[in-house]
Amino acid sequence: MRVEYINPFVEAAFNVLKEVLTSDVKRGELYLKSTTQPVMGVAALVGLAGNVEGRVLFDMSIETALAIASDMNGEKLEQMDDLAKATITELANMITAQAVTKLHELGFTFDLTPPAIFTGENMEVTDSEVEALIVPMELSYGKVEINVAVRERV
């Protein structure tokens, strides 16, 4: 993963989460992964295209997703209904868009695909031939992992 891409994603995730949530936000230690990884329960996925190819995955447990959606909506949501899903989708969109804007200022042009959301148990994600950068964010509702796998077009 190109060094210049790392910071925009970390900063955007931190800023957006801090802004939209009442919870404390703490950044965890970044690391790289290349094997199949388990997904916690709710995964929002945004594709990237342009100078690069890849995707950003926002991964959290259902409980964390519900707490975040409740916080953002200002009302208690009990289950992963359309409103909760739409809220998580929007959060993924906001973070990715802000990161891409920052990257655009640095001279890298990407396009985004509309976010897709996956929910379920025992899910896994595998990227072929791309290693993923994991940006863990600790909230008081639980952990959100931002999993960025992009590579240069060759």
Binding site: M1, L32, V130
Partner: protein, 438 residues
């Protein structure tokens, strides 16, 4: 509140009282040790073991245990502890172990008793443990105001692949023995030389992730001999007790100009071994580039050598802090070699490289063990990278180099590293280690 405390107290007491781990305790050089009872077959007294010629120093010989022939190992010699004089008649204390696929007898000073504890009370060993290598310790436990070190016998005697590797070569064995001026103790000095050798290998791995293997064995043997000269053959002094000891041991290992710009001798040595490629593009892979000093230095030489060709350097490191600084490296003019001067520009933060140079280098946060996107490269620069991986990863990466480097391409590794492969032909000199892929 008090009732809550009471509950907690009773639960704690219960945890302490449940015995789910029994161990046989014994002493070595006055200290208490123990072994999981499930590994112990029986306890016995014996002497006069049948000597086996040409065996390792800590192997006392073999013993006939009711028809089964088992090897006897003296744990005190193995761990460099003093051995009490034995008269011919006295019996020695023997613990017979039942390991996965064979039996083994170990000699200890005295056998104490069987102690039952709760496995939750076992604490992990502290990294700075004196006599016995930390890898061999399962944990430490307190019982009756005595501290017992639980030895992990599977790790000590298990048939580890690496065992082969840590068996020292004959030269260093005799070299350390010859240093000793005392006739009778020559053998003992040689014995401890054996163990010091493998302990240093273990400690380098623990403290610095430095793996001694065929890649750097030549250097390690040389350095080990130097180290004995420097520290004397006393085991206590020879051991690497901390990270700074390990740093000192490794101080001569790193290649010329690690963590700074290449000097003129290295730059010209590099230029000399560069092959002539008759093509318009030259692609380079530089895993483990750190702060990027070597990447920029090499790039300038490539510009000079392959003028007109399009150069692409793919530099990566898995240390986030170092690699983050690489793309916008700021430096002082004094530290810069002449060849790089034309590629600099003043910025608000200080002197930096200009876009011409930056455009050919792509710095990535990447783990060299993970898959990479490119098909084939012309040059690989990976100085002092292999030595800091375990043997499996080393083998994997050397294979990766063979796959990814074009025939006729150049591989550069650390000054004190060597690759033994029929597919790589050595063309280096004292400043640089290079191989041409055949």
């Amino acid at each position: 509140m008090s009732s809550v405390n009471e509950v907690i107290n009773t639960t704690e007491k219960e945890v302490k009282d449940t015995v789910d781990f029994k161990m046989v305790t014994f002493s070595l050089a006055g200290k208490d040790y123990s072994i999981d009872i499930m590994k112990v077959k029986e306890i016995s007294n014996a002497n006069r073991f049948t000597f086996v010629p040409n065996s390792l120093p800590f192997v006392k010989g073999v013993y006939n245990l009711r028809g089964d022939i088992i090897s006897i190992i003296d744990l005190r010699i193995m761990f460099n502890l003093p051995v009490a004089e034995v008269t011919d008649k006295s019996l020695e204390n023997l613990i017979i172990l039942r390991l996965d696929d064979y039996q083994l007898g170990i000699l200890v000073d005295s056998i104490d008793k069987v102690v039952g504890i709760n496995s939750a009370s076992i604490q992990p060993p502290h990294p700075i443990f004196g006599d016995i290598n930390i890898k061999f310790i399962q944990g430490v436990v307190e019982h009756d105001e005595r501290l017992y070190v639980i030895l992990d016998v599977e790790k000590i005697f298990g048939q580890d692949e690496e065992f082969e590797m840590i068996t020292p070569p004959q030269e260093s064995y005799s070299a350390s023995g010859a240093d000793s001026p005392f006739g009778r103790t020559v053998k003992t000095a040689g014995d401890s030389g054996n163990l010091d050798y493998s302990f240093i290998i273990e400690n380098l791995k623990t403290f610095k992730k430095f793996t001694v293997s065929g890649i750097n064995k030549e250097w390690f043997d040389r350095r080990f001999a130097e180290w004995i000269k420097l520290k004397g053959s006393n085991t206590e002094e020879l051991q690497l007790k901390s990270e700074s000891d390990a740093d000192l041991f490794l101080s001569g290992f790193f290649s010329i100009a690690t963590g700074r710009f290449w000097d003129d001798t290295l730059l010209s040595a590099f230029e000399k071994i560069l092959p002539d490629f008759r093509k318009n593009t030259v692609s380079v892979w530089n895993p483990g580039c750190g702060n990027g000093y070597e990447t920029y230095s090499a790039a300038a030489v490539l510009f000079k050598k392959y003028a007109g060709a399009s150069i692409k350097i793919w530099a990566s490191d898995n240390d986030l802090l170092s690699i983050s600084n690489a793309p916008n490296l700021v430096f002082k003019r004094e530290s810069l070699p002449e060849i790089l001067e034309e590629y600099t520009t003043e910025s608000t933060t200080g002197l930096q490289f200009n876009q011409v140079l930056k455009d050919v280098i792509l710095f990535e946060y990447h783990n060299a063990m993970h898959p990479n996107p490119f098909m084939e490269v012309d040059i690989i620069i990976a100085r002092d990278l292999l030595s800091f991986m375990n043997t499996n990863d080393q083998a994997h990466l050397v294979k990766e180099f063979e796959d990814k480097l074009r025939p006729g391409g150049l591989l550069v590794i650390g000054n004190n590293e060597r690759i033994n492969s029929t597919r790589f032909k050595y063309i280096g000199n004292s400043h640089i280690t290079g191989y041409i892929h055949e």
